[in-house]
């Protein structure tokens, strides 16, 4: 399974994160998106005429939408992550997968503007992102009152993985997450999952790691 990847891309990170959580290895091909613009080169456009990344290539199948890649990985290797227990759950997953595109187009575009100098009307982008974050906060707050920690029910699904990166990285685009307590609890639940991997701008939960033990040389001395 080859993933055409960029370390700073939240959409690529969706795929890397799900693969890590379900224990699948990806063959990563780094694409020089910035500053090289390699995603717009002829070989990359031949692979994906839309000129976007990630691109997943597996057994002759080429997928260019990160939410489709999440569906494929889950369906093939970890069907629980599809969240298809009931018609309602399945519909909620579909709903949030579609919603995640709004995050890409608003918070993601604001981050690309602020960090990598991508063009865009920054005030409009932040306004759209704030609306989306408020909707997410309201939904997660309601879920918590039902006793659920994740978007589509009481376990994480590809919907959570699709939404998480652009939300967690929103501060990079000048969108602090302080006003959203339910979002912060939800992010913490995702970061605490077994197999979680970080990306630049998303730190791991140091506070969940065991206390660092004595220095190795101290252990050696004690054993001697």
């Amino acid at each position: 399974m080859i993933l055409y990847d960029y370390i700073l891309s939240p959409s690529c990170y969706r795929v890397r994160l799900l693969a890590a959580l379900i224990g699948r290895r990806l063959d990563l091909r780094a694409v020089d998106v910035h500053p090289g613009q390699e995603h717009l080169s002829e070989p990359m456009l031949a692979l994906n005429p839309a000129g976007t990344i990630p691109v997943l290539s597996d057994d002759g199948l080429v997928l260019t939408e990160s939410t489709a890649i999440l569906s494929y990985l889950a369906a093939r290797h970890a069907p629980d992550w599809l969240g298809e227990d009931t018609p309602a759950m399945r519909a909620r997953v579909a709903q949030w997968l579609a919603f995640s595109q709004r995050l890409t187009d608003s918070a993601g575009a604001a981050r690309a503007h602020d960090m990598l100098l991508a063009p865009g009307d920054i005030d409009a982008l932040r306004g759209q992102a704030t609306k989306a974050l408020r909707e997410l906060e309201a939904a997660l707050s309601a879920a918590r009152r039902r006793g659920e920690s994740f978007l589509a029910g009481n376990r994480p699904t590809i919907a959570d993985i699709a939404c998480f990166p652009h939300v967690a990285l929103a501060p990079d685009g000048g969108l602090p997450l302080d006003p959203y307590p339910s979002i912060r609890l939800w992010m913490r639940a995702i970061r605490a999952l077994d197999g979680f991997v970080e990306m630049p701008g998303i730190h791991r939960l140091h506070e969940l790691k065991p206390e660092p033990g004595p220095m190795p040389e101290v252990i050696r001395k004690e054993q001697a």
Binding site: D114, L116, L117
Partner: protein
Amino acid sequence: MSELGAMRDQWYPVAMTKQLTAQGRDTLLMGAPIRVFADDGGTPKVTDGAGRALPVIDRFGHVWTSLGQPEKDLFTIPEVDQPGRRLVDVGVCRVRCSPLRAVENFLDIAHFPFVHTDILGSEPHTEVERYEVEIRDDVDEVWATKVKFFQPQAAKSAEGGITTDYMYRVCAPTCSVLYKTCPPKPEEWDVIALFVQPLTETLCDVWPYMALYDDDAEMTDLIHFQQMIFVQDRSVLENQLPALLPLDPGREIPTRADMTSIAYRRWLKRHGFTYGAQLVAA
């Protein structure tokens, strides 16, 4: 323009040479609008808001300019000219922080295990051993030497953890060069530079640049390794308070590990390099 002080007559990076177009890049240098572009012959040019030509140097893969009249040539990095080195233009990253804070963070080692976990540092190997710092009057640069740190993955070319030696050099108010153990060529140093363009006192464009001995890695992997490291720092930099770098001691209590930062702040103050700094104790 008096608030620019002595920093007016210094050199600053304002573009990557390879990315220059005739249309150019409209940007800021310490609050002043400038345009960086390539003329008909492909030579880099910089003009200010009134269309006046500013001085230009094309060096280290970047275009450098100044709003004033620099007395000195731009610093040199002799290692860059050694044959066999891969020269890496990492590309721009914008950060909402003081340009001086971006440099100061680059000089810090103690944050490695916590911000660059399992790459440039790891718990419990958090101790910064004593190292040496001096302001070298002959070259007018800050130097930190004999810096050592245990690193799980010191470079793209490193296999497994090694104790890495470092030297740090501040050669301009917003530029620093570090020298670190080169895993495939132990007799040489890898060179990593941080060139910072001050847009305003609290906003900067950072242009990392490297000159490495590494014959194996793909260029894209070298670029992405450094982008990963720098973007791990970015959110920390954007949350530092106060936003302006305090040059006078106050409530901050530096530790022995901060010796390079102390020397850098002293050197800035001595020269009146105060754009992005505050002189009131924090």
